[in-house]
């Protein structure tokens, strides 16, 4: 045995995927020198920096950003080379940005340090050689036995060895891990002796992995002079670090993963960064501006040397060069000149844009969190923003992939009816018929036909047994009363009338609401599940007797098998297997003659939109059970491919069953689901429903949500349609695809936007998982891409697509396929459950619904909202506005820096290409930081070019900004031309004014700094007023910052020129501004140039509107040629 173990451990390939942990004494007295494997200690290091490496590491990380690096280079050039502007002009903003970021990151890291310290220094109790030793948490080693008391969090990942509860269970909440606040039951490893001192065992388990819900391992327990026992370990035995012990006095567990190897720590590693399309546009524009910058510098350098080659120009007598300058190599001079020009024009790419964009995104996302329309009184929570980087992406969504259960529907299951042996039992929740449910009469007495009581009871027992529901732990007081719960439930069972819904709600806990609905359904018919204790399930039957069943095995539900089973042994010793699952997964496994009777009901129920489950059972003979038992145990102990092995055994066991009946559970639509879907469709968004549910159920939900209309022609590509003909499936698939493609794509006249023209034919497309995998994984390589293309084209021409019977991974596959299709449309996934996580992560924007299926979707989402109906406002209002805001912000930033720098460039032609700055250094530095940054920030936070209510009412407005409409090359060129125009106007307007620099009535002349200041004044006023013209929504904040900025500029200029600044080496702006304003001509030229610059802007606004074909509603909201319309909101 030992040798085998050593062999297992010795092999490197084994060590890679499993680890061995010794608990207690070393197994036996081994002569072989064995070095226990080293594991990391239990110190949690979530902080990124230490005091020593903070500065270098943080700076390194910050300068890895291309923009920061660019500014650093510019700064260094300024320091090294003799450049026209002092290093301060670009160093100060850079320093500011870097410092603020560093402080923010440093503070966050300090918080992490503090949290780490608290966690690491927490005192825990460790059992060592029979003594209880108090240790600091960070000193826990793998293999230590740790004791945890109630309400403490687990210091590391533990295998539960002992619990203070009698049944070897303990309850934990994983609220801090995945946000699920319900209690979860974990089990001790069976056959552990009470005295942990004596325990001697080895645990073999997989290497640490981040999946919170997966764990495989086995434990080998050595007893004195006995053959060792092997027990399988699963996630139910593993207590995760970060979870909290509840309802259990204390537990002991052995540490298996510590410190950074715990599942919680592994989950720290951030999600993949999603980048928005706007950011890509920014980068493209940046490249253009970089090219403009380079070409400007190049042009100036070239012209400089051409100009200098003329005699007398290079070195006039009044401006001789220093000896050092004369000695410098010509090419070096050219190069430094080039760099100088770069520095002079570098403000064209402003460092402040990044800061502003970042601030806009962060502050903007607050509005989503603050929105009270997103507040759900039921769960008392509002929206949650996990990433603020994607705000604008919400305005660009073209495809919405939605889950059905819990997203379109409430996931609030209600038992509607069942059928037993083909007889229908309807439960009506109306007072008049309540008496029909008295236990004595039996639930079916009013129905004309009914199945035999025996079958009925078997069916109800199956409902009561075949699940993983827990009875909610009674509170402290209830426990004091002993059998309080029993009495209560007892009472309920007898008089159905006094059934209190709230109590009922609290009664059961399960991972799936279907199960609760079924168990509750059984209660209505007189069978009450009392709970599971020591592997014994108790049922209160109609005769108020408690039936006991020993739970032998649970064959867990999984989405692939789509069924679950339990194996129980009744008092009488019969071993029974109850199985429930989707019809498609049950029907092939039962006797066929039973199927037909039930299938009719199932199909009818599915059509009505109910979720149907079939229930089957079989008796297991002793040999059969022994075989199954052995198979299951073996599979559970497998370290590798456990899942597959288990699956094989499950499939083997769940055969030859007999069908008893079926259930129908209603899942009601979410509030306003239909309206939401309708308006999203109106917004030009294609909606795909991806569900694991049956086709019929999903289809009816789609009809209910108005995704499919009465006149929608449905194109079906499912297993059923594929099996229609006598052809092979592949051939049929090919045929259908071609046919649908012809119908939906080719027959449509080009240029018609079909989806919202009411007169053209609407198509809906339905595909199921099996067919989809045929499309995606076609055997022929050539056909594969063809099919994919056909499929995509068909789907793109359908108003709605329904994909049913999807496995979670297939959902992500579909999202990925659409995401990567032509035109790379922006996708959004919305879901509430763990099965949606993959598609939420895959899509551009992932939205989680704070629903009932735990918090995994919310954790992995970018935005989380309480209800589906909030999606409408999130996209149509917030998304639209954020997109418009940020697009305007970006364009405006490039524009304002172009017309800032262009005059400086033009000035080079008039100053002998000597890199003379036009503006004073203070203006160069402050332009982007102080004078023009606040109005655009306010605009980008507050602008509502169309007010929110109108946006919500007219979904079609969303189409106006589709496909990144405001950040394409067209608008970019428009803005750029505008910038160029403005720059030219500013510069040449003042140039012609200065053809006679005597601008005052005292004959005195103005100099170059006056020139620059006039240009700058016109510039600041023009760009600010242009923004004012673009602002459609003037709040007091807008007024404040726009007029405030201008006032600040004036005040600052007076101040800057009014004082002799001791720290400046030259007082070149002294009194320039005041002098400038004392000249009437300057006033006139400022007014003239501002008006001239803005004139085209005004004309554009006036003329654009009447000629542009716009939807009527929009025209009504903003009629351009109507009377002045000053609107005040409530």
């Amino acid at each position: 045995m030992l040798r085998r173990l050593n062999r297992l451990l010795g092999g490197d390939e084994r060590r890679v995927d499993s680890r061995t942990i010794y608990v207690g004494r070393q197994p036996g007295s081994t002569n072989e020198a064995f070095i226990p494997p080293k594991f990391c200690d239990n110190r949690i290091v979530s902080s990124k920096y230490t005091v020593w490496n903070f500065l270098p590491k943080n700076l390194f990380e910050q300068f890895r950003r291309i923009a920061n690096f660019y500014f650093l280079i510019i700064f260094l050039v300024q320091v090294i080379v003799d450049t026209p502007t002092s290093p301060v002009t670009s160093g100060l903003p850079l320093f500011f940005v870097i410092t603020v970021t560093a402080i923010k990151q440093g503070y966050e890291d300090w918080l992490r340090h503090k949290a780490d310290y608290e966690v690491n220094k927490y005192r825990v109790t460790v059992l060592e050689d029979g003594r209880r030793i108090s240790k600091e948490s960070e000193k826990i080693k793998v293999g230590d036995v740790v004791e945890v008391v109630e309400d403490e969090t687990f210091p590391c990942d533990l295998i539960l060895l002992q619990s203070s509860r009698d049944d070897g269970t303990c309850f934990v909440t994983t609220a801090s891990l995945d946000g699920e606040s319900n209690h979860k039951t974990h089990y001790t490893v069976p056959d552990i002796e009470k005295d942990l001192e004596m325990l001697c065992a080895t645990i073999e388990c997989e290497q640490p992995q981040p999946d919170l819900y997966k764990f495989v391992g086995r434990m080998q327990i050595y007893r004195n002079n006995q053959e060792s026992v092997v027990r399988s370990l699963g996630p139910e035995n593993l207590l995760l670090k970060g979870a909290t012990l509840k309802n259990t006095k204390k537990i002991c567990g052995v540490a298996v993963y510590t410190g950074m190897e715990t599942k919680m720590a592994l989950n720290y590693q951030g999600k993949s960064q999603k980048r928005s399309a706007v950011e890509k546009s920014i980068n493209a524009f940046l490249l253009v501006y970089l090219c403009i910058l380079l070409s400007k510098a190049l042009v100036c350098t070239t012209l400089k040397y051409v100009w200098q080659s003329k005699p007398g120009q290079d070195e006039p007598w009044y401006n001789e060069k220093t000896p050092r300058e004369k000695e410098t190599n010509l090419y070096l001079k050219m190069f430094t000149d080039f760099l100088s020009f770069m520095v002079l024009f570098n403000f064209i790419i402003p460092v402040s844009m990044y800061v502003t964009v970042e601030m806009q995104k962060f502050l903007g996302s607050l509005f989503i969190t603050w929105d009270k329309d997103f507040f759900d009184p039921e769960i008392k929570e509002g929206a949650l923003v996990n990433t603020s980087d994607l705000n604008e992406e919400l305005g660009q969504v073209e495809y919405v992939f939605t889950d059905k259960t819990g997203t379109l529907t409430q996931n609030n299951m209600e038992f509607i009816e069942c059928c037993i042996d083909g007889f229908q039992y309807t439960y009506r929740d109306t007072a008049s018929e309540l008496d029909g449910f008295c236990v004595t009469d039996g639930p079916v007495s009013k129905l004309p036909q009914k199945a035999s009581t025996e079958r009925e009871e078997l069916f109800l027992r199956a409902l009561c047994l075949c699940h993983t529901v827990q009875v909610k732990e009674p509170t402290e007081q209830d426990q004091g009363q002993g059998g309080g719960l029993l009495d209560q439930v007892d009472g309920l069972g007898v008089d159905g009338e006094v059934l209190q819904p709230p109590q009922e709600e609290k009664g059961f806990i399960a991972s799936s609401p279907d199960e609760i609905a079924l168990v509750k359904g059984a209660v209505r018919y007189g069978f009450t599940f009392l709970g599971l204790e020591n592997k014994v399930m108790k049922i209160l039957n109609r005769n108020k007797d408690v039936e006991m069943y020993e739970l032998l095995h649970v064959l867990n539900f999984d989405p692939v098998r789509r069924r679950m089973s339990v194996i129980v042994r009744s008092r009488s010793g019969d071993t029974l297997l109850f199985c429930k699952g989707a019809d498609a997964s049950i029907f092939p496994r039962v006797r066929q003659e039973e199927v037909e009777r039930i299938r009719m009901h199932v199909d009818r129920n599915a059509k009505e939109g109910y979720r149907t489950l079939c229930v089957a059972y079989k008796y297991l003979s002793a040999e059969e059970y022994a075989q199954a038992d052995a198979g299951l145990r073996e599979a559970r102990l497998a370290l590798q491919d456990r899942e597959e092995k288990l699956m094989a055994v499950y499939n083997q066991v769940e055969t030859g069953m007999s069908l008893i009946g079926a259930t129908a559970v209603e899942d009601r639509l979410q509030e306003e689901a239909a309206e939401t879907m309708e308006s999203l469709q109106g917004a030009g968004i294609k909606i795909w429903v991806l569900t694991g549910d049956k086709m019929e159920t999903a289809k009816s939900t789609c009809y209910a949500c108005r995704l499919f209309q009465r006149n929608t022609e449905l194109l079906e590509l499912t297993v059923r349609t594929l099996e229609d003909g006598r052809m092979r499936r592949e051939a049929r698939l090919h045929e259908l695809l071609i046919e649908y493609h012809k119908k939906a794509v080719q027959d449509v006249p080009p240029g018609v936007t079909r989806s919202w023209c009411s007169d053209s034919q609407d198509y809906g497309f339905i595909i199921d998982g099996a067919s989809l995998s045929m499309v995606l994984n076609c055997s022929h390589e050539s056909n594969s891409s063809l099919y994919k293309n056909l499929f995509l084209q068909i789907c793109q021409n359908c108003t709605a697509v329904l994909c049913c019977r999807m496995a979670p991974l297939q959902k992500a596959q579909i999202v990925k396929m659409v995401k990567n299709s032509k035109g790379s449309p922006i996708t959004l996934s919305i879901g509430d459950g763990a099965n949606d996580v993959s598609m939420i992560l895959e899509a551009h924007v992932g939205i989680g619904i704070k629903g009932k299926e735990g918090r995994q979707a919310v954790r992995n989402s970018d935005y989380a909202i309480p209800k589906l109906k909030h999606l409408k406002k999130l996209l149509l209002a917030h998304g639209h506005l954020y997109y418009v805001r940020i697009a305007h912000l970006v364009q405006y930033f490039f524009y304002k820096n172009l017309c800032f720098i262009l005059p400086q460039f033009l000035y080079q032609f008039f100053c002998g290409y000597s890199q003379q700055p036009l503006y004073d250094a203070a203006y160069l530095t402050m332009y982007n930081i102080c004078f023009t940054s606040m109005p655009i920030l306010a605009y980008s936070l507050l602008e509502q070019h169309i007010c929110i209510d109108v946006l919500l009412e007219n979904a079609t407005l969303y189409r106006a900004i589709a496909k990144n409409a405001m950040l394409r090359w067209g608008p970019f060129i428009k803005w750029t031309l505008q910038g160029v125009f403005h720059g030219l106007v500013f510069f040449f307007g003042v140039r012609y004014l200065f053809s006679n620099p005597a601008l005052q009535n005292n004959g005195q002349v103005f100099g170059n700094w006056s020139y620059g200041t006039i240009v700058f004044t016109v510039l600041v006023f023009t760009v600010t007023l242009k923004l004012a013209l673009d602002t459609r929504h003037w709040t007091w904040l807008n007024h404040f910052v726009i007029w405030g900025s201008l006032a600040f500029y004036v005040v600052f200029s007076f101040f800057w020129g009014g004082i002799i600044w001791p720290f400046l080496s030259q007082q070149r702006l002294c009194s320039v501004f005041a002098k400038m304003l004392s000249s009437l001509s300057v006033w006139l030229v400022i007014i003239l140039l501002i008006l001239l610059s803005l004139l085209p802007e005004i004309l554009l606004v006036v003329f654009r509107n009447p000629f542009a074909p716009r939807p009527r509603q929009a025209a009504a909201a903003v009629t351009p040629l109507s009377y002045k319309h000053l609107k005040e909101h409530e």
Binding site: G312, Q313, P316, W317, Y318, N319, E320, K321, T322, P323, W370, D371, K372, K380, G382, F910, C911, G912, S914, Q916, C947, I948, Y992, L993, F994, N996, P997, A998, L999, N1001, G1003, Q1004, V1005, G1007, N1008, Y1011, H1033, W1034, T1035, I1060, S1065, Q1066, Q1067, C1070, K1075, L1080, S1081, L1084, L1088, L1091, I1098, V1102, P1120, L1121, Y1123, H1125, L1126, K1127, H1129, E1130
Partner: protein, 339 residues
């Protein structure tokens, strides 16, 4: 009550700001406001334009090039660099009264006072009267920092060194005799320059401050002897020096030299013949420059400049045309709307 509080604890603030429902004005640029607006702006602009244009036209300007490039030019002989302290005369006549006050400018062309290196070649601390910088001028003044004997130059730098050095005397020829026209050199520089920005060292006599320093190489007199007539017009607050130190924005520029305000010429220069006597010192031909003198009177808008008036007229009429076009479009639009 407590329970209610708990319920709302998580609820977002219901304020106008957080709900993006701040009261807001939505200005609509509509025809109703734009057409009359354009009309008013257009009319106003045309009004201003006319005023500007008329004013500009009324300003008299007399500009004379005295560089002496032409062989026939009286100053031609002075262009030879070997001729020192050359005097030349320009005769001109005025037909009508040149209304006063008349401003006397000198102009330079193709002269780059806005060279970057030229502009920074200056030591403000010197010019602010800080004596410690007299002995060690700023590095930026190089190569006009020290003379060949390593004496500090005060004021240092290319800008001070290249100060305009031509001087002028204006005579009216009355009955064959030259009657000197008094030129007023006061108030030709910015008031702030002479009173705030530049200062002489507070040493009396001023000359003491300049011990152990040398004058700029091209200067005829040291800074403390720039104006022998007026002791207060010396040093760094000499008006001519200040005028020169205000860098021109463009390579063709003019600077104020004198004003003609006193004596018989308060009303301006009467019609008649005049002679301008030029002490020709300043070489410009080496870099292809030109020198001019300009006599001009000024108005409320400053010197003569037609640009502003024309620009106002053009934009004003554009506004009016636009408003008419818009009116037509509006009428058509309304018409088609009603149909």
């Amino acid at each position: 009550m407590v329970k209610q509080k708990q319920e709302t604890a998580n609820q977002p603030d219901n304020t106008a700001f957080t709900q993006q429902r701040l009261p807001a004005w939505q200005p609509i640029i509509s025809a109703g406001i734009v057409i009359p607006g354009f009309l008013i702006i257009g009319l106003a602009f045309i009004g201003i334009g006319v005023a500007l244009f008329v004013t500009s036209q009324s300003i008299q300007v007399l500009e004379m090039d005295y560089t002496g490039v032409d062989k026939t030019s009286p100053c031609n002989r002075c262009t030879d660099p070997n001729v020192k302290s050359c005097l030349c005369q320009m005769d001109f006549s005025i037909d009508t009264l040149f209304k006063g006050p008349v401003f006397f400018y000198y102009g330079l062309s193709n002269y780059y006072q806005n060279f970057r290196k030229y502009g920074v070649s200056i030591d403000y601390n010197q010019l602010f009267g800080d004596l410690s910088y007299f002995t060690s001028p700023s590095e930026k003044c190089s190569p006009y920092q020290y003379d060949n004997n390593n004496n500090p130059i005060v004021p240092c730098g290319a800008m001070a060194n290249s100060m305009f050095s031509d001087t002028f005397k204006l005579f009216q020829i009355v009955n064959g005799t030259n009657k000197e026209v008094p030129l007023d050199g006061k108030g030709i520089a910015w008031w702030t320059d002479s009173n705030i920005k530049y200062r002489n060292p507070s040493v009396t006599p001023l000359q003491m401050a300049f011990n152990n320093t040398v004058k700029p190489l091209l200067w005829a007199n040291p800074a403390y002897q720039l104006d022998p007539a007026d002791a207060n017009n010396n040093g760094f607050i000499n008006q001519d020096f200040l005028v020169w130190m205000r860098r021109a924005a463009l390579p063709n520029f003019r600077k104020l030299y004198r004003r003609i305000t006193s004596g018989d010429y308060t009303q301006g220069l009467p019609a008649g013949n005049y002679t301008l006597q030029i002490a020709y010192n300043y070489p410009v031909l080496s870099f292809g420059g030109r020198k001019t003198v300009v006599f001009s009177n000024v108005s409320w808008m400053g010197g003569k400049n037609d640009f502003l008036g024309i620009a106002y007229l053009v934009i004003g009429s554009m506004c009016i045309i636009m408003s008419i076009v818009m009116l037509i479009v509006y009428a058509k639009f309304r018409f088609s709307e009603e149909e």
